[in-house]
């Protein structure tokens, strides 16, 4: 298996801020690679370096065996990119922008374009001025997905999409994988990256701190479970994979590793379970536990974390 992206020890500075501080990242051909990190960790900077929009200050990086700074034209014919913050020309319609970007990319499949418009429920006759953030993102996604690029670089592509559209997007990514194309997908939402990726890399303050296939990273994640029971059972904290058990009246909450879920459920069912809520692990929990730091306190001048922002219009 060849590597589509190879980065070793990449450094990128903006004045006094070190955005990437010796970053190593490899993305293999044909995989969906989740690139996970809190806001300000350096995800967008990494993608822009891979596109030749920024110039690295150290280390080596290659995309499809080429230097992205020097071989922009040849490389970009084989890449498709969706920026994290999609800005469009206010006077052009969504349809015009999709076609323009498609032509600049070297052609797109018109049938596929129309399917994608339907799938994402986007009105291509509206002026970009009238689009919400989510709709602007759809324009860039459709323009990218309608091309026959080999490699897709997607920067937090779902951050403005509603859940229904997120589903449509996940379907598209799976389709790309079946076709053997490579996807590098950045995100600050752990569950999203988990749902789609073959392999994950976790970036914090400009460094990749964890990388591997999903199963290998499973041990890092814990589901947060809250249950109301009739009688509180004893010794829950002794079960393997069950942590931080807190009992308040009839209510039990705990942090559970994947391996601890089955024994815990058995114990709770036996205790007369009425209600159960479980929350997927979040990136913030993971950081707190494994790196002893809150994401918001990442060093190297990284920006503050701001999860859960949304924008609809």
């Amino acid at each position: 298996m060849t590597n589509v992206v190879e980065m070793t020890g990449v450094v990128k500075r903006f004045g006094k801020v070190t955005a990437l501080d010796g970053l190593d990242l490899t993305v293999a051909q044909g995989e969906v690679h989740g690139f996970l990190g809190p806001n300000g960790a350096g995800k967008s900077t990494t993608l822009r370096l891979l596109l030749g929009m920024l110039r690295s200050d150290g280390g080596s990086l290659q995309v499809l065996g080429l230097d992205p700074w020097r071989n922009v034209a040849t490389l970009h014919r084989r890449l498709a990119y969706v920026p994290g913050d999609v800005a469009l020309w206010p006077n052009l319609t969504g349809g015009e922008v999709i076609d323009l970007l498609g032509r600049l990319q070297g052609g797109q499949d018109p049938a596929r374009r129309d399917d994608l418009l339907k799938m994402f429920d986007l009105d291509p006759t509206k002026k970009a001025r009238a689009y919400s953030k989510g709709n602007r993102q759809k324009v860039a996604l459709i323009a990218a997905l309608a091309t026959d690029a080999e490699v897709f670089l997607l920067d937090e592509p779902t951050s403005g999409l509603d859940p229904l559209m997120e589903d449509a997007f996940r379907g598209c990514v799976r389709e790309l994988r079946e076709q053997g194309r490579t996807v590098l997908l950045s995100s600050h939402i752990l569950s999203e990256a988990e749902a789609l990726s073959d392999r994950l890399s976790i970036i914090r303050a400009g460094k990749v701190v964890e990388t591997g296939p999903l199963q290998q990273l499973r041990h890092l994640t814990r589901t947060s479970v809250t249950a109301d029971v009739t009688t509180v059972p004893q010794g829950l904290e002794l079960l393997t994979g069950v942590h931080d058990v807190v009992v308040a009246g009839q209510r039990i909450s705990a942090q559970v590793e994947p391996s601890g879920l089955a024994p815990l459920m058995q114990a709770l069912t036996a205790a007369g379970l009425h209600t159960l809520t479980s929350q997927p692990p979040t990136l913030e929990d993971l950081f707190l536990r494994h790196y002893g730091t809150n994401t918001t306190k990442a060093p190297a001048g990284a920006a503050t974390s701001n999860p859960g922002h949304s924008n609809h219009g």
Binding site: L54, G95, E96, A140
Partner: protein, 530 residues
């Protein structure tokens, strides 16, 4: 009303903070310019006889009258010293006030900054109110400072403050015009363009009005810049005229707030109509033309109108010179043809500067597209940096050339009709085309700055103003020759264009190429920034 204005004070403070350098520089610059010109005038025209001679020459020369207006009291030192500032620099001041007002209204709306702030406790009318407070306040301070600077040179205090308050009131009037324009358009670029076109029209109105015999005709009184001249500072001090620009503000401001109340944040007045579902834009070149076309079309219309008016004045130039003295002077200068040529040459040179301003604005699309994030989407495709930069750069060069061609043809046709001489079209068009290389130098300079210091792209406007000022006032200021030679406009051949101009034209084109090459080199080396 109180609720809709909530937060105005905060916004005013924020705006003053953002613009503290810009506004202080302009205010100091204008006050210093006024003061230094007044003291230079005192040295140049020491006695009444020299003033009368100079004033009569100005009043008798059509190009001077068209460009600067008349001296209404030939014995007044102040009226003579400030002649170039009464209309010409007032127009520059008006452009600056349009910039400031648009910057705090439509530009902030477009970039989404106001949306961010509107989430806080901010009334609907607060941004507009704050923008007007800032630009009105800046106009007033600028006017008072300039009046003070003039009085300090020993000119009569009444005239000095009549002059300064004239600047203040005119600045306010054009701020109000810009505020209205910001409601009618949907982009800062279009709003600024609209404001500049209004200024150009009012300037032409007063030029034509001032040329009428005798004295200003009704056309001058239709123009706010004309009003500023009719205050006649140091030549009667018509204080009541100050009432006209203030009345214009009083009329426009309520209309502006009314229109603001009828539209959504970010929207223009017109309804959003659906557009085509499929695009016809084939690539970055089409996109650049599409983005620049409207502005170019507006400029082209303005240039043709201005050109025909100027051209048709050609027949009158020598008739203005009626006194025996000036008839004598005319013969010495080479007869009626030479005087007509000098007038045409001056007008064509101004058009060359305007075309350079167009080219500068057009090439600055590069930076505005980059900061808007549009460039990131384009460079994510197979488009190279050089190709994208070339699209806007070449479109800007082409626009400049087109404007000068239209200038030449329209001035030429106007003059040909007025003088019953068809051969004017060819020679005037040639003279007009000869202004293109200097304008291209300015356009290429903007590309160079874009490549190496993208955050300074708007500073090129300042450089353009410096070049214009050096051309207009360099001699008056005793500026050293090498400094004046820095301005590319200094090297453009003038009518009648002979073979002697070829060398400087080639030099200008080489300079433009070098600047462009520098720009490309910088752009291909630097990070994409937002």
């Amino acid at each position: 009303m109180g609720e809709t204005l909530a937060g105005t004070g905060t916004l005013v403070r924020l705006g003053l903070r953002r613009d503290r350098w810009l506004l202080s520089l302009w205010i100091l610059g204008f006050a210093a310019m006024a003061g230094s010109s007044a003291s230079a005038g005192a040295g140049l025209f020491p006695d009444v006889a020299s003033r009368i001679a100079a004033a009569e020459t100005i009043n008798a020369t059509a190009s001077m009258v068209a460009l600067f207006g008349r001296v209404y009291d030939p014995t007044s030192l102040g009226a003579l010293s400030m002649i170039k500032y009464t209309a010409f620099m007032t127009a520059v001041l008006a452009v600056l006030m349009v910039f400031v007002t648009i910057r705090h209204t439509r530009a902030d709306e477009e970039s989404g900054q106001l949306e961010l702030l509107s989430g806080g406790r901010l009334g609907r009318n607060a941004p507009l109110a704050a923008a007007l407070v800032i630009s009105f306040g800046a106009s007033l301070v600028l006017g008072l400072a300039s009046g003070g600077a003039l009085a300090a040179t020993g000119l009569p205090a009444a005239g000095s403050f009549a002059f300064g308050l004239g600047w203040a009131a005119t600045g306010m009037a054009f701020s109000a015009v810009a505020g209205l324009g910001a409601q009618l358009t949907t982009s800062a670029r279009a709003a600024t363009g609209l404001g500049v076109i209004v200024i150009a029209i009012t300037y032409v109105l007063r030029a034509v009005g001032d040329l009428a015999q005798p004295g200003p005709s009704a056309l001058s009184w239709l123009s706010p810049i004309g009003w500023n001249q009719q205050i006649r500072a140091y030549a009667g001090d018509n204080w009541w005229v100050l009432f006209l620009p203030l009345a214009l503000c009083a009329a426009l401001v309520p209309v502006t707030f009314f229109l603001r109340a009828r539209r959504d944040l970010g929207a223009g007045l017109g309804e959003q109509r659906p557009g085509p579902a499929h695009g016809s834009l084939q690539g970055v070149w089409d996109l650049a033309v599409r983005l620049q076309f409207r502005m170019l079309a507006a400029w082209a219309v303005a240039v043709v109108l201005f050109g025909v008016v100027i051209g048709s004045l050609a027949g009158n130039v020598s008739q203005f010179l009626t006194s025996p003295n000036s008839q004598d002077l005319m013969k010495k200068l080479g007869g009626a043809q030479a005087l007509t040529d000098a007038f045409m040459a001056a007008e064509i040179a101004i058009m060359g500067i305007l075309a350079a301003a167009y080219g500068l604005g057009a090439v600055n699309h590069l930076r505005s597209e980059e900061t808007a994030g549009h460039t990131e989407a384009l460079l994510g495709t197979a488009t190279t940096r050089a190709r994208w930069a070339t699209s806007h750069y070449v479109a800007a060069l082409g626009g400049v050339a087109l404007l000068m061609l239209l200038t030449g043809l329209s001035v030429g046709v106007g003059a040909g009709l007025a003088l019953h001489d068809g051969s004017q079209v060819g020679r005037i068009t040639l003279a007009s085309l000869a202004q293109i290389p200097a304008a291209w130098v300015i356009t290429s300079m903007a590309l160079a700055i874009f490549g190496w210091a993208p955050r300074l792209t708007t500073a090129v406007w300042g450089l353009l103003v410096v070049f214009i000022a050096l051309g207009e006032f360099g001699v008056l200021w005793n500026a050293p020759q090498w400094l004046m030679d820095l301005s590319p406009f200094q090297h453009s051949p003038l009518l009648p264009v002979g073979s002697g101009g070829v060398v400087s034209l080639v030099a200008l084109i080489v300079t433009a190429c070098v600047l462009a090459a520098l720009g490309y080199a910088g752009w291909s080396r630097r990070d994409l920034t937002a």
